[in-house]
Point group: C2
Chain length 291, copies 2
């Protein structure tokens, strides 16, 4: 079976052609509009494919194939992407949230563990949960919103409007707002980490608190899902040598039987592998998209 996999991120779109689960060719380009995606697919797979899987960075109603909210891709908001692509490709198109697709990628092509949680530590904090060898999609496909667990009820306000979400405390966008407040200028997680590693006390404290909040989030997942493993991905994990021990210490203090944490071995292609597996791992409870 030939599957066209698409991973539409806030800045980059990756597409890959898979033959029986193996990635045979790939390309990437700046995320702009539908036409750019159609052109890239035509170029990558001129001979066609049997089905397509799309990982999308946003809140989706997977049952209906509808993009509900996409803070970094606002002009895609409200779009029913799968039917539009099906009309162009004449093939069934499956769409899922990008972080849950990353978990599916880890399940089918990465760690292959039966029970694990995948967490993206990046501009936002996303997740994908696998229990008993199955991705937990939730009622409409919006499960695993681990960035929006309220971990400190009195904490800072999140983009979503709530207070004390993990994302407000530990994500790249949260760190940007925290540095603006505490240092007078907005810094990226990478910049803040560099200052922390150079011994600056306020950046040290900011990254320590972010690491503790992430550890608390993982500890909550440990108690509720009893995973055998955490798999982490996302840009901030590039500083894992410095941040990892702090996250692990927090996890160990807040979970009774914490599993090990590993970084994804699939790198930036983890979501692409998951998108490729969507057609064969579509949840039974929803009708498959029309061919």
């Amino acid at each position: 079976m030939k599957v066209l996999a698409v991973d539409t991120g806030g800045t980059q779109t990756r597409i890959g052609l898979f033959h029986n689960g193996n990635l045979v060719s790939r390309t990437s380009f700046a995320t702009t509009d539908l036409q750019a995606l159609l052109d890239a697919a035509e170029e990558l797979a001129p001979e066609g494919f049997d089905a397509a899987g799309v990982a999308f960075a946003g809140a989706l109603d997977m049952r209906r194939g509808r993009i509900l909210c996409a803070p970094n891709l606002t002009k895609w908001q409200g779009l029913e992407l799968p039917p539009l692509l099906r009309d162009a490709w004449k093939r069934p198109v499956y769409m899922g949230n990008d972080a849950s697709c990353a978990a599916l990628g880890e399940l089918t092509a990465g760690s292959r563990a039966e029970d694990f949680a995948y967490v993206t530590w990046s501009t936002g904090i996303g997740g994908g949960l696998v229990s008993g060898g199955r991705v937990l999609w939730g009622r409409t496909g919006m499960a695993a919103e681990v960035g929006h667990m309220v971990v400190q009820p009195l904490g800072p306000t999140c983009n979503c409007g709530k207070a004390g979400c993990l994302e407000a405390l530990a994500s790249g966008s949260g760190i940007r707002r925290i540095t603006e407040r505490k240092l007078g200028r907005p810094l990226s997680a990478e910049e803040t980490t560099a200052l922390a590693q150079a011994g600056e006390p306020i950046p040290e404290e900011i990254m320590r608190e972010a690491s503790i909040a992430l550890g608390q989030g993982l500890a909550i997942l440990s108690e509720t899902l009893e995973p055998e493993l955490f798999v982490l991905g996302g840009g901030i994990t590039r500083s894992w040598a410095y941040l990892g021990p702090q996250v692990e210490r927090a996890l160990a203090s807040m979970a009774r039987t914490p599993p090990p944490i590993r970084l994804t071995g699939l790198g930036d292609e983890v979501g692409l592998y998951g998108a490729a597996a969507l057609p064969t791992h579509w949840p039974d409870k929803w009708p498959p998209p029309a061919a």
Copy 2:
């Protein structure tokens, strides 16, 4: 198929005989030792049964049928209960955590929802999670320990040794310790609620904070599992008319798409229904117990 169901709680043991999923007879007695259970089973089902399911109030290794930790049933700790019962009954015996069994009871005989979380609000706080029509057991059967999610990192110490667990903030045993500290005498949740309803400010505050903590716990489950429903059971829910609105308000403020909360319609027999379903809902990933 005839199944003997056993629900071994900290004080009471309930047993029931099920024919094809229907409860045909039942009894209950004070939880003492193995012999009392064998005697009661002999009396209830003199003609035998095909399999047995046991819901047990404690931390278990379900794969091995071993009771790891049972704070309210310390003399059962370390016991491999299923093989002992199998030797007496000559039938396969399946054992699971009582709160996860309650979720299984709701799945098979109660709400029958595909995606929901069951939470017991009682002396302790336990849970059972159902996603895509399946109970989430975790790696060894210890998933859904919702009482041990750290919801306030700076909160009071829990029985388990960690700080700020939901159970330390909102369970009956937690409320007993909080009232001791704030009122000078340990009160049950029922007594504290009665004082709160009578307008006493400190009990009002204690029960408000407990309700907010429970709402936060449910909100975390809402974001991570996207359930269509919460089902609550346990003694403290008898005061739901007073406490429910406070829990619901907290849930609504800490989750973006909070599902409705209902109280279990199976009452004290919810765990018994789940125990009866264990033999037919045993997770594929573990070998079934020997016959």
